[in-house]
């Protein structure tokens, strides 16, 4: 122990240095304790909020209650009620209590990663503030609860997709057919070949169309000719010097002839009257018979001549009027 006094003077300000170290340590330790107490909300007046849940799985003491992502409270205690529900006691600092209103909703959410979260939603901030010690229902929503259901559905969808993508699936076959059809469409006859199923059939259709075109062209010529024929017929029948004209003229001649015939018949009547008068006095007449019979012969010749003319005329009309039986002109 004799070394201690020897070494002591070698250390300058030993007591000051150690005192400084100890004082710094002490002050820092105290400051840290005060800071932790402050951080834990020891110096903040709080109000109680009690949330009732059926299942408090994932809820731990010290867990924050968040509002719009900001922690405004902390879980202080958990206990079970008589009917097996969970009472979650949350301490909300009074300065943050204004975010909680009577209409606020509280949810417990469990994500895939990280702990559960208790969140508060206040839609109407003008509602009266939540009183101290209020009890509210905690709505639980668990993302992991849906996973089995989702997995089952995904499996069903995947098996469908598998069936659809299998080598002999109908979709694959349909696609193969589409491929065949579009392949054909790239051929010489394009879409026609695709639709009809081969270049031969498409060629036939094209040929048929060509032939139809030719046919239409010739029909066009025919109809032109028919038109010309009809025009000519028209000309011949109804034009000047046509059949109708000649007929008209013939009819006029017939009229003239008939007038002549009538006059001849009148003269015959007169002759017959004279003959009637003569018959009364045969004797008187016998002298005139010679002259009378001569007249009769002449008359008869004249009548014959007239009748022959009429006959001839009618024959001529018959010859010149070919459609005598069918008066109507039937168009094709």
């Amino acid at each position: 122990m004799e070394r201690a006094p020897v070494r002591a003077p070698l250390i300058k300000n030993l007591e000051l240095k150690v005192g400084l170290l100890l004082a710094t340590t002490g002050v820092l330790a105290l400051a840290f304790i005060v800071y932790v107490l402050y951080a834990r909300g020891t110096f903040q007046p709080t109000q109680d909020l009690i949330l009732l849940a059926n299942n408090a799985e994932g809820v731990t003491i010290g867990m924050p209650l968040t509002f719009s992502g900001f922690p405004i409270g902390q879980v202080k205690r958990l206990d079970l009620t008589e009917d097996g529900r969970v009472r979650i006691h949350i301490a909300v600092p009074e300065k943050d209590a204004r975010w909680l209103r009577t209409s606020s909703q509280f949810t417990l959410e469990k994500g895939l990663v990280g702990g559960a979260r208790i969140r508060a939603f206040s839609a109407v901030l003008s509602d009266p503030p939540l009183p101290d010690g209020a009890e509210r229902e905690l709505i639980t929503g668990d993302a992991t609860e849906d996973i089995p259901v989702i997995m089952a559905r995904v499996k069903a969808i995947l098996s469908n997709v598998e069936a659809m993508t299998a080598a002999d699936s109908s979709i694959n076959r349909a696609l193969a057919h589409v491929d065949t059809v579009t392949g054909r469409m790239t051929g010489d006859y394009g879409v026609l070949e695709g639709v009809l199923g081969g270049p031969d059939k498409a060629r036939k259709v094209v040929e048929a169309l060509d032939r139809a075109n030719t046919l239409l062209t010739s029909l066009n010529g025919i109809s032109l000719r028919v038109d010309q024929t009809l025009a000519k017929a028209d000309q011949r029948v109804f034009g000047s010097g046509g059949v109708m004209d000649q007929t008209d003229r013939s009819l006029a001649q017939v009229n003239a002839i008939l007038t002549e015939v009538r006059e001849s018949l009148k003269r015959a009547d007169a002759i017959l009257l004279a003959a009637q008068g003569a018959a009364d006095n045969v004797n008187a007449i016998t002298a005139d018979v010679k002259g009378a019979t001569t007249d009769l012969t002449i008359l008869r010749v004249e009548v014959d001549d007239s009748i022959r003319k009429v006959n001839h005329l009618i024959n001529e009309i018959n010859r010149k009027w070919p459609f005598r039986r069918d008066v109507e002109l039937k168009l094709p």
Binding site: A8, L21, A39
Partner: protein, 264 residues
């Protein structure tokens, strides 16, 4: 048969010796603790030893140690923060890094640092004092070495380890704030919330007790190992070796026990 008996005897003897050594260590520790809380111990002589012990153990290494602790803490915090961000877990980065660095790494680092430096020195000094019969000489003149030589060192060591741990931890907290939020004061409420979540009374108590136990172990075990050395000069290195290995195991035991207490 004879060989087997001899083997068993050797095993038994070894185990007994081992147990006796630990028993003596515990007895010694208990005595030191009793002395610590005996007001009569504190006089000018013991105070001088305590001050010197604190000076050599804490003050001398303070700048280098704090620099090293700051560097290591910052690197660890940055690794945790970056990794957490990559995995989309930024909100847990601060908590994880503070738990890893402040609650576990820095206390252990401090005690290992002090053990390698001061623990080894105390062990050697006591072993040499023992070999040179200085301790017996003290006892012969009526000076209790326990009271005037060992207890002040234990007190000084414990205070030093506690002070170093606390200073490095607070430095690490400041660095953690800067690493996570940057140089701005507006995230202090977020930071406070995380700190409040981590430093529960249990965690705080565990950290303090662990730190004090580390401080006790880092002086008690080397002193005891030095005293146990046979009074021959060539046993001094063996005494130091035994003391340091025993100290290492005790430190690890305290660390694991504290982890088990907090996380199980």
């Amino acid at each position: 048969m004879h060989t087997a008996l001899r083997f068993l005897t050797r095993i038994g003897g070894g185990a007994l010796g081992w147990l006796q050594a630990w028993g003596r260590l515990l007895t010694f520790g208990a005595r030191a603790l009793v002395e610590t809380f005996t007001p009569a111990v504190y006089n000018s002589a013991t105070r001088s030893v305590v001050l010197k012990q604190i000076y050599f153990t804490a003050w001398q290494i303070l700048p280098g140690f704090l620099l090293f602790a700051a560097l290591l803490s910052y690197v660890i915090i940055q690794i945790v923060v970056t990794t957490a961000r990559d995995f989309g877990l930024s909100e847990f980065a601060l908590e994880v890094s503070v738990r890893v660095v402040v609650l576990e790494t820095l206390p252990l680092l401090t005690v290992l640092f002090v053990a390698l430096r001061s623990g080894a020195a105390i062990n050697t000094e006591v072993a040499l004092m023992n070999i040179n019969n200085e301790i017996r000489a003290l006892e012969d003149v009526g000076v209790d070495p326990m009271r005037f030589e060992f207890t002040p060192r234990v007190i000084g060591g414990a205070i030093s380890v506690y002070a170093l741990t606390l200073l490095s931890c607070i430095l690490a907290l400041i660095l953690a704030y800067i690493a996570v939020y940057g140089f701005q004061p507006w995230s202090l409420s977020d930071f406070s919330r995380v700190i409040a979540k981590i430093f529960t009374p249990t965690a705080f108590l565990t950290l303090t007790v662990k730190s004090l136990l580390f401080g006790l172990a880092v002086t008690l075990i080397p002193i005891r190992a030095g005293l146990e050395a046979p009074r021959m000069l060539f046993f001094a290195p063996i005494a130091v070796l035994r003391g340091m290995v025993r100290l290492f195991f005790v430190i690890m035991f305290i660390e694991v026990a504290s982890l088990a207490l907090v996380y199980m």
